[in-house]
Amino acid sequence: MNKVLMSGNNIIGEAAIRAGCRFYAGYPITPQNELTEYMAEHMRNAEDGVFIQSESEIAAINMVAGASAAGARVMTSSSSPGISLKQEGISSMAACELPGIIVNIMRGGPGLGNIRPSQGDYFQATRGGGHGDYRTIVFAPATCQELADLTMDAFDLADKYRTPVMILADGMMGQMMEPVIFKKPKKRIYSDDFILKGAGNGKSKFIRGLLLDVIDEEEHNWKLARKYSVITKNEIRREEHQIEDAQLVIVAYGTAARIAKGAIKRLRENGMKVGLFRPITLWPFPELQLRALAANVKNFLVFEMSTGQMLDDVRLSLQGYAHIDFHGRPGGAVPTPAELANVVARLYEKVD
């Protein structure tokens, strides 16, 4: 397969279509517009492809939910403020166990914030985001190649677990171009016995999220919880970079992890043994894998383009077994590897 140069937003769109996505609905918001535009252009040529520019993010997620219930592979995308609007529908999809992909190309926040790359939606993405007791699988790609691969994988996991999956990237990932090779998508494995196609001559079915009976709702919650624990057991992904001899490990994801790698290169050139632990799934969080590192590493630095959100998960994972520092740049600021290297160098000197 040929290597092509594409922007992150377009890569997500292309990977989705190759993975068999046949229904996309979305609403314009910077910095993810190119994805919506890509789907508008390319769904036309996909067999049975449907593109709808919806009147709002709320409508988009519900269109997607409907199409998912009708058996299509579905995707919607937005950026931070739009994702907040979609939460009602995401919660509903989780309740109704409808597969679907939600792409969040994060920007600065809270509120309208700005359109610069940011990582302020970590809590929203990993804690469910909407109301109720649910989780969504969250992928945090750090390269355009990973955007392509994880987008395809996201569809497989959404089908496998019948759950919404979020791809959490930021404005920089969406806008930047990198060479990418599209892998061959897997065949769709999908139980269609819950899909609504009309009852035919058989029994009619319904899909619902409202369970007025307390015992039913409680059982449904536990059923979802069991599903989430299976996901936690099977689907954790992370990257460990130069940790073998590390005295200090930076924990970062997405764009921040790229910057961290740049910083690590500089630091190592100066003889400082620094490594990177990069969660690729933010939920499920690679908790045990991170804790295992604490057997040898006693100093961690969490680095995020936020005021400290993943920091909580790192604290929960390390459970006091190691010292944790934090460096954050919220609001759309993208720090340089040099800046981070300076921060790490100061901490490194204190490492005993």
Binding site: E55, A59, G66, N201, S204, F206
Partner: protein, 257 residues
């Protein structure tokens, strides 16, 4: 031998409605089931019930159904219909659902001319939550959140869905009916049938608004509720056909073929 001339429609499950005595939802459900039977489309129909009293419609209507979050029915129905264009898809919505929180979804599904049917129950209050003021509450009507009566200065005016949706180019057919008398109920059945037929013929968006009694929240008995629709409510919401392009759409299609 006596012949049965009226009984339970086949597309209705054998269950007692949870609705209050004299509730118009029950009648509307039955009419939809009758139409589904008449058109013989039970096996290809997918319904989208709303949040509101009718959220449990899937307990009664024996067709595939998926519950939509409050107000989002037409968006969900659009997604289903676009994915399965040969199925009959309808959204069933109350006045709060369609005309307040979901006005955007409804308006734009109509404007896109989605080939779906919308059954819109207008009972001038929020029923399930206990009779609060709805977008369709008429002026001076007392509700739990307009205890002194809806005041135009404070609360604005009742939203006339059929009137303003009929202005949208995407809309093919809109009729406002009532379910407060046998004659009106029969008219409503015809309207629902026409709406489903419109969809089966691929003619696009149609909506049937049904003025429907809510005796519990109106704090009237069922008989007075039916009278109130005639004497008061229908003055703000006059019944009738607000748009019917089915003939011209059919003609254009024949001309093209």
């Amino acid at each position: 031998m006596a012949k049965k001339v009226f009984g339970r429609p086949k597309s209705l499950k054998d269950k007692i409605f949870h609705y209050c005595p004299g509730c118009g939802h029950s009648i509307a459900h039955r009419l939809i089931a009758e139409v589904i039977d008449e058109l013989d489309i039970r096996g290809i129909t997918i319904g989208v019930p709303p949040a509101g009293c009718a959220v449990l419609a899937y307990n009664y209507l024996d067709v595939d159904m998926i519950e939509a979050p409050h107000g989002r029915g037409p968006a969900m129905a659009s997604g289903i219909k676009r994915t399965l264009p040969d199925r009959i898809v309808f959204s069933y919505q109350g006045d709060g659902d369609l005309a307040a929180i979901g006005i955007a979804e409804s308006f734009h599904a109509a404007n896109r001319g989605e080939n779906i049917s919308v059954i819109f129950i207008n009972n001038a209050v929020y029923g399930m939550t206990g009779g609060q003021m709805a977008p369709t509450t008429i002026l001076n009507q007392k509700t739990t959140t307009s205890p002194a009566g809806r005041h135009k200065i404070l609360d604005g005016y009742p939203v006339k869905v059929s009137e303003f949706f009929s202005q949208l180019e995407g809309v093919t057919y809109i009729e406002r009916c009532m379910v407060n008398s046998p004659t009106n109920i029969n008219k409503t059945r015809k309207a629902i049938k026409k709406s489903f037929q419109c969809q089966m013929d691929g003619m696009g968006f149609s909506l049937v608004e049904i003025l429907s009694p809510c005796p519990t929240n109106w704090k009237m008995n069922p008989i007075d509720s039916c009278k109130w629709i005639d004497e008061v409510m229908s003055k703000t919401f006059p019944p009738g056909v607000f748009k019917d392009n089915t003939a011209s759409v059919k003609k254009a299609a024949e001309g093209a073929s």
